[in-house]
């Protein structure tokens, strides 16, 4: 796997991370090593194999759609520092 700084920057942007130059240099080396090792899976013939999203095959478990007690507005906001009139306040969008 060839990883370069341009691709690394693209991945970081997607993940909403700003890496320092030092981090970029370190990650380029480390991630290349790790991804090369993981590429070992290429050897395995997985034709006609279905992916296992879970270790156990799960069936949908549904519950009755009843009204129940839930968090109050104050509880939901209790860990937030930026709120206004009972709403979460976020950074500007545009």
């Amino acid at each position: 796997m060839r990883l370069d700084k341009k691709l690394l920057k693209q991945v970081a942007d997607n993940a909403r991370l700003k890496l320092t130059e030092k981090e970029m240099d370190e990650f380029l080396k480390e991630l290349s090593e790790v991804l090369t090792a993981f590429s070992k899976l290429d050897e395995v013939d997985t034709k006609n194999i279905k992916p296992a999203f879970h270790p156990i095959e799960l069936k949908n478990k549904l519950r009755e759609d009843n009204v129940k007690k839930c968090l109050t507005q104050n509880q939901a906001l209790s860990n937030s520092k930026n709120n206004h009139r009972g709403y979460f306040k976020g950074p500007r969008i545009i």
Partner: protein, 444 residues
Amino acid sequence: MIIKDYIQDVNLGNIDVVDTIKNVLKDVKRINKEYNYFNVISEELALELAKKVKKGKLAGLPISIKDCVCVKDVESTAGSEILKGYKPVFNANVVQRIIDEGGIIIGKTSQDEFGFGSFSVNTKNVPLNPFDKTKSCGGSSGGAAGITQKIDLHLAIAESTGGSIVAPAAFCGVIGFCPTYGQVSRYGLIDYANSLDKIGVMGKDIEDVELLFNVIKGDDVHESTTDSKDFESGPLKIGIIKGWKVDSKIEKLFWDKIEELKQQGIKVEEVELPLNEKYALSTYYLIAMAESSTNLAKYCGLRYGQQEKLEDNFNEYFTKIRSKYFSKESKRRIMIGTFARMAGYRDAYYLKALKVRKMLIEEYKKAFKKYPVLACPTMPILPPKFSEIKKLTPLENYMMDQLTVGPNLAGLPHISLPLDKYTGIMFIANHFNENKLFEISKKW
């Protein structure tokens, strides 16, 4: 029998629980100053629960909770700076079940950030090995294992994604038990990787571990993956997994123990799991990192945890918070996971790993047809010194999990029993066959 006798006495009203809990908290604080096993000691909650102690299966018993499992009104950070200050407004299902049976929550144990690590060093509060403070407790449930070794009247709730219960249990000389995926509700768990996370138990006596497991397991309306089935029955026969390379001291202790089990009349044979031997590690890490990179997307300084003055646009704000408060290991895993899910690479990495996972599970299932229990050493090495861990590359770090990732990837129940104070033997059973693990553990 210390714990069972104590619970019985509490239920009979023969014990002053407040007094007992005060003494336990005193010990815990003293130990914590030296060994860093707790991120928070929940003294107020513990005393409140002790004062109105209920009769029940865990009446009056001190129980620690790994930091990634939410306890109402007690700071729960999963060992991460980005969640500093977060106080959950509800109890995790396991915590509520414990409280309902009279258990006393004494605090949140230290761990690698979000469970990212094998040595509990990827966090600010690094737990130290109970037998040698220059060495690691193992990870990521390091604090849970350390305090379990140090205090007899106590059980721990731990959590495993790729070996985070059995690895520290082995390094600290205690029992670490991880159930089948879905047997214990994950509601209230600060997730690492949703298809891999399992909540389990640590203790010193197998009967106590089984007692706590029986309290925390079972269906939960908040959780779509909880499942329970009847156990299979049949004679015990152990398949020793071939192909591992471990420290020579561990190898000798392992085979000596197997010899003892043979003398008790248990049949033992060797079994090959070639796909798991070659591919479990890569498969595990690709899936775990892909899932963790999506889970960690929610940490952006908006509703809980670290928040700052709202400046810049949303992308710049989220990026600032995440870059400032995630540790290097979290960033590394987010980067690999995001890459493995990106357009153009998803099929080659993430989907490929999910397909190989299917094959690895089938390989295990085939082995279980002949051997109800599989065994191997828990960890390939003895607890390393912190100075040695610093020299490891990320890949070398990940390779430490080579023996534990297989059962975790396949969601199989597994247990580590101490071979000595620094190492353990791991038994693995088929899905929902926890009873086999308890049966063999009781022959210890």
